[in-house]
């Protein structure tokens, strides 16, 4: 098993897409947080985070995503999430995060949907 989190950034048009793959726990989440903060610091206000490769998320990972969303909201930005697996989706539902984030079934859907809430 691995407790590695891989953070990959790609541009789709002008939109930065972060792919988070592996495990987001207390050990690995700070890396994702640093990446999200770097993008926001660089003036990006509309992020798409693709979770299709995410195998695991704990409250430490949820915290990082919420902190990013809070920062973006303050500057009128958005964070859209795409392609959550069933277990990840369940964690989001239990935490009530399904009501905080714009969650899309696929990356294409997230990119096609325009800036959401």
């Amino acid at each position: 098993m691995s407790t590695i989190l891989q953070v990959v950034e790609e541009r789709r048009g002008v939109v930065p897409v972060l792919f988070l793959k592996g495990r987001m726990d207390a050990t690995t989440s700070p890396e994702a947080e640093a990446h999200i903060n770097r993008l926001i610091d660089a003036g990006e206000h509309h992020l798409v985070v693709d979770l299709s490769g995410l195998e695991y998320i704990s409250s430490a990972g949820l915290r990082v995503l919420l902190a990013g969303l809070k920062r973006l909201k303050q500057c009128g930005g958005t964070m859209k999430l795409s392609a959550l697996g069933p277990e990840i989706r369940k964690v989001f539902d239990i935490a009530g995060f399904n009501r905080l984030f714009a969650i899309h079934g696929s990356l294409d859907e997230a990119l096609g949907a325009g800036p959401a809430t």
Binding site: M1, T3, D25, A26, L69, I94, L100
Partner: protein, 150 residues
């Protein structure tokens, strides 16, 4: 009844040992034929509980913790023991999940996840130790064919 099997691990209460603790439990449960969904949920509950101990039980870098996993034909039970400050995580108030992004506090979700995912959670402070035990039934066992599949 096929009896029970137990595996346990004691490590210094630091984040770098978190993987060894969760890995011991998930590896053992997989060996014992638990479905991945159940393994995932126990993985998360053990992670949350251990992270709390690592962050709050001791002064940084001090103290040890033990994770003990007992598996039977019907369930897996994990007990986490530390000798740090007495702390009952079950006394923590459930978080308010109704607020919007702005008012949502960062954090406070770990214990909520544990309670939601586990079938039973107990806490006791005995002989100078915090003991948190979490039980998850083996899903798919005959008995109770009505499961929560969506």
């Amino acid at each position: 009844m096929t009896g029970t099997e137990t595996r346990s691990l004691t490590v210094p209460a630091t984040l770098e040992h978190l993987e060894a603790l969760t890995g011991m439990v998930t590896g053992f449960m997989r060996e014992q034929g638990f479905p991945e969904k159940t393994v995932f949920e126990m993985d998360l509950a053990v992670d949350e509980a251990c992270t709390n101990v690592i962050r709050y039980a001791y002064a940084p870098g001090e103290g040890e913790m033990t994770v003990e996993c007992t598996v039977s034909s019907t369930c897996a039970r994990v007990c986490i023991t530390d000798s740090g400050h007495p702390f009952d995580p079950l006394a923590v108030k459930a978080p308010d999940l109704t607020g919007g992004v702005e008012e949502r506090p960062i954090g406070g979700l770990g214990v909520h996840l544990i309670r939601s995912l586990m079938d039973m959670v107990t806490y006791e402070y005995a002989a100078g130790k915090n003991i948190l035990c979490m039980t998850k039934s083996r899903e798919g066992v005959p008995s109770g064919s009505e499961s929560d599949h969506l």
